[in-house]
């Protein structure tokens, strides 16, 4: 561990400590620490180091956003937020898996505290806590098996036992929200207008840690028939999660729940790419899939940060009836974020969607049973991505564009949002760097000169498909200017909107927007007409998760009354401190 990383870690810890004094100072130190961290760890030749870069960019953005936004939430929030970031930095910078585990707990525990602080309903944080502990247990089991088979837990890893891959993936998947399907559910339930900066950190970087961990393990896994069942398991759970969370995201009325579900949907897509990478015998497709994971992660991390920034400044829990102050910069920023999250060009989100589907359909080209699996998975994921596009369009339309009630001056928070959005376009233009020389090229006859093409190809060298971010951006820019310059309507007469002669301007609701899916997929979503509201759906995964949380709470209550007979809140803090201490002691022994 070099000294720069050490200094950045100290800065991050300092940010947490200074949170108690001032939000501004804490945010400033957070930004400084993140800048240093990203700079110290980034190495273009090492593909893993891109994760540190992505994470530090998000933290910097969150830091800037928190300067004005965090004021509303008192001093606990900046402290705990920075502590979570510190935990993640530990994971990303560690050289062995023990340190990863320590970072894992340091990252998780402040989030319980934030939930505890801002809770309204008690069952959600307990469910979250229960599953987080399950995640840790699964990781520890994986670690033990790894240590037994190789005698080492330090990077670089060597993996011979598929069970290691299984348990580590399971632990990471729980953190990514795949297994219980709804990690981000606690946010809307815990607090109606939950801190958007915390949501951004959890949604984009905490899930990133899961991806990072699996990435390290999958990179170290050689191709063998032995690993294929695990790959299949990861692939199917990814595809399944992607489809269902896309459905729940599309039908969600709560803003943060919608965003949370779409996060899990993205994680599902990433997981599917991992599954493909493990299963495919073609080395080029495997590398392409791993790059896809990286591109997807980048698109998701930036996009989700932007989405939570965008949603953060509106009031109310639900899309329907939310009051939104909006300004031009915020509108443009939200639009770009929505374009990226919908998987459309010219943003990195579009490239991610293209890349993902490309890897699946390349594999399908080979035929065989893996080809069949690939084409089915690819189709389902394409469907899920389509639904998520609808969901994102819904949240954008009904909070930022048509339903915005008040116009405000451009705010500081909107500027940060616009910067985030610009990064999405910038990343699209610079994506050649991530793909590397192996996957870039050009077709000079069509005026696209090397290396302005991203090419998906097989091991044999034959090209499957190509896309040129540079060219797309150019065309969009050109046609937009041409339209504005030549075809801009002149001599405009403004008239009232024509609503079949009626003076009423009816409100089309976000609920109505997604009712088509509620009705068409009524069997899957179990749409019912309950007394108070029409067309309510039920989510069996969330119901099950609440149930687990309830039992977990009962158990902890019994223990706490047996030992301390005091309030549950104090017991929670005690448990957290004790747990931290034990883990630190164990790791340094």
């Amino acid at each position: 561990m070099n000294s720069l990383v050490m200094i950045s870690l100290i800065l991050l810890a300092g940010s947490s400590a200074s949170g108690a004094i001032s939000n501004r100072i804490s945010s400033a130190i957070l930004i400084a620490g993140s800048v240093l961290f990203g700079f110290a760890l980034f190495n273009p030749s090492q593909i893993e180091s891109y994760f540190s870069l992505i994470a530090s960019v998000v933290w910097i953005l969150v830091g800037f956003y928190s300067i004005s936004y965090g004021q509303k939430y008192g001093r606990w929030l900046p402290s705990m937020l920075s502590l979570t970031v510190f935990g993640m930095a530990l994971i990303l910078s560690s050289k062995d898996l023990i340190m990863v585990l320590v970072g894992w707990e340091v990252m998780s525990i402040p989030s319980y505290v934030i939930i505890g602080l801002y809770r309204k309903a008690s069952q959600a944080p307990f469910a979250f806590m229960a599953f987080s502990e399950a995640s840790l247990i699964s990781l520890v089991i994986g670690l033990i098996i790894l240590f037994n088979s190789t005698g080492s837990v330090a990077f670089p890893l060597r993996i011979y036992n598929p069970l290691v891959l299984l348990f580590i993936s399971l632990g990471a998947m729980i953190k990514m929200g795949i297994t219980p399907y709804s990690i981000n559910e606690w946010l809307p339930v815990a607090h109606g207008s939950a801190p958007a900066n915390a949501s951004a950190v959890f949604s984009s970087t905490m899930t990133l840690m899961g991806v990072y961990l699996i990435f390290r393990f999958v990179s170290a896994t050689p191709f063998a028939a032995l690993f294929q069942p695990v790959g299949f398991l990861i692939l199917t759970s990814g595809v399944f999660a992607a489809l269902f969370t896309a459905l729940y995201s599309y039908t969600a009325e709560n803003k943060k729940r919608l965003a949370g579900f779409s996060t899990v949907d993205n994680q599902g897509a990433i997981l599917a790419a991992f599954g493909l990478a493990i299963m495919t015998p073609d080395e080029t497709i495997r590398r392409f899939a791993m790059i896809t994971v990286l591109i997807f992660t980048l698109a998701h991390a930036l996009g989700k940060t932007g989405l939570f920034f965008s949603v953060g400044s509106s009031s109310g829990e639900n899309i329907y009836g939310s009051q939104q102050k909006t300004d031009r910069i915020g509108k443009i920023g939200s639009a770009i974020v929505a374009i990226s999250l919908s998987g459309l060009f010219p943003t990195i989100g579009g490239l991610a969607a293209w890349s993902l589907l490309e890897s699946f359909f390349m594999q399908a080209y080979y035929g065989g049973y893996i080809g069949v699996i690939a084409i089915i998975s690819g189709s389902v994921i394409a469907m899920a991505e389509g639904l998520v596009s609808g969901a994102i369009a819904k949240i954008l339309i009904f909070t930022r564009i048509f339903k915005a009630k008040k116009y405000a001056k451009n705010s500081y928070e909107s500027i940060v949002l616009l910067v985030t959005a610009s990064l999405l376009v910038l990343a699209f233009l610079l994506s050649y760097a991530i793909y590397g020389a192996n996957y870039t090229g050009g077709v000079p006859t069509t005026l696209i000169f090397p290396p302005f093409d991203i090419t998906s190809k097989f091991s044999s060298g034959s090209i499957f498909g190509l896309v040129s971010p540079f060219f797309i951006s150019l065309i969009i820019l050109f046609s937009f200017t041409a339209w504005w310059g030549l075809l801009r309507p002149r001599g405009v007469r403004y008239v009232e909107p024509w609503n079949t002669g009626s003076e009423q301007h009816d409100d089309f609701t976000s609920f109505g927007f997604s009712s088509n899916i509620r009705i068409m997929l009524g069997r899957i979503l179990r749409t019912r007409d309950s007394g108070k509201e029409s067309l309510s759906i039920s989510n069996p995964f969330w119901t099950a998760m609440i149930l687990v949380g309830k039992y977990y709470r009962k158990a902890t209550e019994k223990i706490s009354y047996g030992i301390m007979n005091s309030s549950i809140g104090w017991y929670m803090i005690y448990m957290i401190v004790a747990f931290l201490a034990i883990i630190l002691v164990v790791s340094f022994l």
């Binding site: 609503n499 089309f508 609701t509 108070k532 509201e533 029409s534």
Partner: protein
């Protein structure tokens, strides 16, 4: 009274006016209103919103506002606001010749039904007994109007399905019947042809086009019945069941309520008229009832021994009648009832019952739980005329 006895319930329910409930053979005075007309949309539940359609919605023939309550896709309820084009028609205090000009413009498409019902009520009030050949001419006119109106409804149903060929062929037939009406009565919409005491009627063509129209309609009808796409839009759409349902909607729900047979106002009993009923009560059954009635009406006209020419000379007015009269006629959309009191040759009081308000409430009732694509088929299947339901007559 000539057509009705007062009191009791004899025959099927045929409507209600401000003063009477009307049954086939009797009218019952002084009653509480029995069939509330649904006009306002139901209240909204969580997640639902209101969609206003109209008053100038291009898809509707007349000005009407529909207020749908929906959570998206499914219609929870619909309120029909028909009073946008409400015309105030002041009949009382007018002379009889002026009054009939106003009554026939109540609903131009069903002008014959309105003016025949009104004329018969006035004739009873002022003591005219019209000869049988005039009654026969009126029956023929009534049936011609029914044929055109039903053709119009079936054409609209086909058009709602974007079924261009049958829709155009049916409107071709409809225009053909209109021309026949013009040759028979002198006017394409019977305006000025029917009045208390007489008719303008010409049978020079011997209504000869009718058999060819019947044949052509039969072939289109058969084609429509063999089209699964068309039928699946109608079957199970807008199911209406109940006891007191009037008009073709009632006959489609299995109720025998044809005023032509259940009331003695016009001698339809002698023509061998067969009443058509279906049991399902959906838009399909209403389509079948109307289509079968077209063929039945053609048969009735062919069986009538029609006079060659009636020149519109007025009958002798005696003014020794009971000065009040009532009559009912089965219009293409349901029974039309008029009650009038006449004093010194002026209309003193008018009371009426029209089918369109009933049909609107039936539509509103049967629209619940259906989706938006069902709406047009259901609406057209009732043959609703806003001009009739919205008019305020005094």
């Amino acid at each position: 009274m000539r057509c009705f006895d007062i009191g009791g319930k004899v025959g099927p329910f045929l409507g209600e006016s401000q003063r009477y409930i009307i049954f086939g053979k009797t009218i019952m005075p002084e009653h509480p209103l029995e069939s509330p007309v649904i006009r306002m949309p139901p209240s909204k539940k969580a997640g639902e919103f209101q969609l206003t359609y109209g008053p100038l919605a291009g898809g509707m023939l007349e000005s009407v506002t529909l207020k749908f309550i929906t959570p998206g896709e499914i219609i929870r309820g619909v309120g029909v606001e028909d009073k946008f084009k409400a015309r105030e028609i002041k009949v009382s205090g007018r002379t009889i010749p002026d009054a009939i000009l106003m009554i026939e413009r109540l609903n131009g498409f069903h002008a014959a039904s309105h003016s025949i019902a009104f004329s018969m009520a006035v004739e009873e009030a002022i003591g005219i007994k019209v000869p049988e050949e005039i009654l026969k001419a009126r029956m023929a006119m009534l049936e011609l109007e029914r044929i055109r109106s039903h053709l119009h409804v079936v054409a609209n149903l086909a058009e709602a399905d974007s079924f261009a060929v049958p829709s155009k062929r049916l409107s071709y037939l409809s225009e053909k019947v209109t021309r026949l009406i013009s040759r028979t009565s002198g006017h394409r919409y019977f305006f000025g042809s029917i009045f208390p005491g007489g008719v303008f009627f010409s049978n020079r063509d011997k209504l000869s086009d009718l058999s060819s129209i019947g044949k052509e309609f039969n072939s289109i009808y058969g084609g429509l019945l063999s089209s699964k796409i068309f039928l699946s839009r109608l079957k199970g759409n807008g199911i209406l069941q109940g006891e007191k349902i009037i008009g073709p909607a009632g006959r489609a729900a299995g109720i025998s309520n044809d005023a032509r047979l259940h009331s003695g106002c016009l001698p339809f009993g002698k023509t061998g008229l067969r009443e058509i009923t279906y049991a399902d009560g959906d838009a399909y059954a209403r389509f079948r009832v109307r289509s079968d009635e077209i063929l039945e009406s053609i048969r009735v006209i062919e069986n009538l021994d029609l006079p060659a020419e009636i020149d519109g000379k007025k009958q002798q007015v005696s003014f020794d009648g009971p000065s009040k009269g009532a009559a009912i006629v089965e219009s293409p959309s349901g029974p039309i009832f008029y009650y009038v009191e006449v004093e010194d040759g002026l209309i003193h009081l008018i009371d009426y019952s029209f089918p369109s308000p009933f049909n609107i409430s039936y539509f509103s009732r049967s629209m619940k739980g259906k989706v938006f694509t069902d709406f047009q088929f259901n609406w057209e299947s009732y043959g609703i005329w806003i001009s009739e339901s919205s008019a305020v007559i005094s």
